[in-house]
Symmetry: C2
Subunit: 405 residues, 2 copies
């Protein structure tokens, strides 16, 4: 995947209307040492630069996947016939059995899906990786291998995720600690009330682990309505008590879409700088996107699982996820579709804490070109990625990984 | 678009697992005079047949679009920057003004979108066409021209649709009658309570027109919850009183997804053989798909508008719409995804009354090939259409209209 990190001039590309000093203009981008050196209408090629004519294509920042499960996917494998029962616990048990018995290899699979993400323009990615007492750290080791292989081009955060529960499967706590010591960046958690059955005990264990290893938290909170709000309040108490402001993500947070009057709770989420992740599922309630943004909450997007034992749906394309976000929140205006795109770009970088993000001098050179007249068109039409640059390297052309990659 | 309707043998194709005597097997299909002559493992080529090797691809019946608005789309035109207000009435007024002043041509646009539908495997289609006192029958004339142009390959039903209201815009009633006399197949209607403001008067006018012209009805019912249920009951009364059983479609029917106890109403819908259309919108309540099917209600799918002043979303791909239906109803199992596909194939043909539909001898030869291991995979991956046969003619290959078309 590594190719030479030589200087680059990407000429004749158009910036989206918003966010940029030169928004709407045709510009060039110079890239040196994997960073954007300059971006604007009159940019000179760096010495010895490769010059790439963008052909008037729309320039977007590399996309950010805020929540996926690289270790679970069947991407590129034979079709998995889904005959799973309807409950969360059915899906958890089914998957654990499948992974034990099927030869599913988290290293191979995470690499296949990561490469597909890159080809479609995603250059930063947060993945949750199952840690449980059957598998131990085996899936983590596979994903760490993928991170290593793609280190030059894909900026990957790994969440150590207790998919089978924390308290209800004794020994998981220690494994999560080992995972954090072995290279996971973030501590995961799962439904402290409805899976672990002990919200106080489960949250206390999670926050204690996070403190011991000095890691942020990203919790899956599927719990609906009132019970979800109850759990969330307990979580916020601990964010406040333990000084974890700005270091916690709540993923899914279905409950925030189901409360008759969520404002007080949302204000507290904002005050404690807790970020929210949504995959914008059409069949569940979702946090109110615009209200969250008005209150200053960072709310961002992710695919969740892609083609695994949980779900047949999903492709590693953040433009398609932006479209789903647009559809779920009924965003029809062009300026609203820019918000949907923000969820898979700037807001996701902010929520996950990916540094040096964006289309400005000094940022990491993660660039995507698409043939689209406007950003809104790019979201709804999801055109093939004409060019993808990751960390200054050309990694894909016309939807396929580049030969050098 | 017409190409010679010569005999055809489509060999080496796989049937989906369900519905077919030879489900799951590799078969051949012989086509004579635009009809399937035989389908099975040992089918001889008809005399003088063109023989087409399907390369082991999955064979699906031509797709059915149950509800779209061909006359409104900007497909193939410059991007329309959407700055429209959030209310239904904003959108109606904005569109009427846009169409008056922009040079938007319903004939050109409906042809562009219809051709894109064909290239993606849709061979039967129901479109609503705006009839109002500003435009008169102008949009209808454009769409009638498209129907004519594509008559050999695309089976199109036209609904005369009072987008700006019926009673509230005097003169619309007569225009609708003229539209039915001029070639529209179905009488449309719109929100008798919340747009027309007089549910009894509006429904009475609609049913009287339908009776006078001997046409079925397809009504847009966006009205939510209790008011929608109220209007729907008034509608069902008239279906019963006027003997319109089996001749009425209720499109959208958001109210049926919002009632605490819809069973009695659904049972009456079933008894009166009223069919339901859903685009499965993620941001609205939707009729309960499985419950409807259990009660024997025909519920089917459609895109609704595609890239117009109402919505930037949508592409003319019924596999993608089946995926949206799957996502909206949380259909994850392979057998459930077959239900999602049914909504854009057999159930849609049933709901609209398209005759001779399906993969059996005697049916119209509308055939689609995709490279997919299973039907479920075809729905979630939406692979390019390898071959499309419409009324016995090869109309598209690899996603593009065939040279002869």
């Amino acid at each position: 995947m590594t190719s030479a990190n030589s200087p680059l001039l990407l000429s004749n590309v158009r910036l989206p209307d918003d966010r940029h000093e030169h928004g709407g203009e045709t510009v060039s981008v110079s890239v040196v040492g994997g960073r954007i050196e300059a971006i604007g209408p009159n940019v000179a090629p760096p010495p010895d630069a490769l010059v790439e004519d963008g052909g008037g294509a729309l320039l977007l920042p590399g996309f950010v996947e805020g929540h996926t499960h690289l270790d679970k996917t069947h991407w590129g494998r034979d079709w998995y016939v889904n005959e799973v029962g309807p409950n969360l616990t059915d899906r958890i048990a089914n998957e654990r059995e499948f992974r034990k018995s099927s030869g599913h290899d988290a290293g191979v699979q995470s690499l296949a899906l990561s490469r597909a993400f890159l080809a479609a323009g995603t250059t930063r990615l947060r993945t949750h990786v199952d840690i449980d007492t059957d598998a131990g750290l085996r899936y983590l080791e596979g994903v760490l291998g993928t991170r290593d292989t793609l280190a030059d081009v894909l900026d990957m955060q790994i969440v150590a995720f207790p998919q089978s529960g924390l308290l209800i499967r004794p020994g998981t706590d220690e494994l999560l600690g080992n995972a954090l010591a072995a290279g996971a960046d973030v501590l995961g958690a799962l439904d402290p009330s409805l899976i672990d059955g002990d919200p106080v005990g489960s949250l206390n264990a999670t926050f204690a682990l996070a403190e011991r290893y000095g890691k942020p938290i990203d919790i899956h909170l599927h719990e609906p309505g009132e019970i979800g709000a109850f759990t969330l309040k307990l979580l916020l108490d601990r964010v406040e008590a333990m000084g974890m402001q700005g270091r916690v993500v709540v993923s899914h947070a279905f409950c925030l879409g189901a409360l008759p009057e969520p404002t007080a709770l949302l204000e507290r989420v904002a005050r404690l700088r807790v970020a929210l992740l949504t995959s914008a599922p059409p069949s569940r309630t979702v946090p109110p996107l615009k209200r969250c943004r008005e209150l200053g909450i960072t709310i961002f997007g992710g695919n969740d699982g892609i083609r695994d034992t949980w779900t047949p749906f999903g492709i590693p394309d953040m433009l398609e996820r932006a479209m789903f976000i647009g559809m779920r929140y009924d965003l029809r205006r062009d300026d609203d579709l820019a918000v949907a795109f923000d969820c898979v770009s700037h807001a996701a970088a902010q929520g996950c804490g990916f540094a040096d993000y964006g289309l400005h001098a000094g940022a990491r050179a993660d660039l995507v070109l698409v043939d689209a007249p406007t950003l809104a068109h790019a979201v709804v039409a999801r055109p093939v990625r004409k060019l993808v640059v990751a960390n200054g390297r050309i990694v894909a052309r016309n939807g396929a990984l580049a030969a050098a990659a």
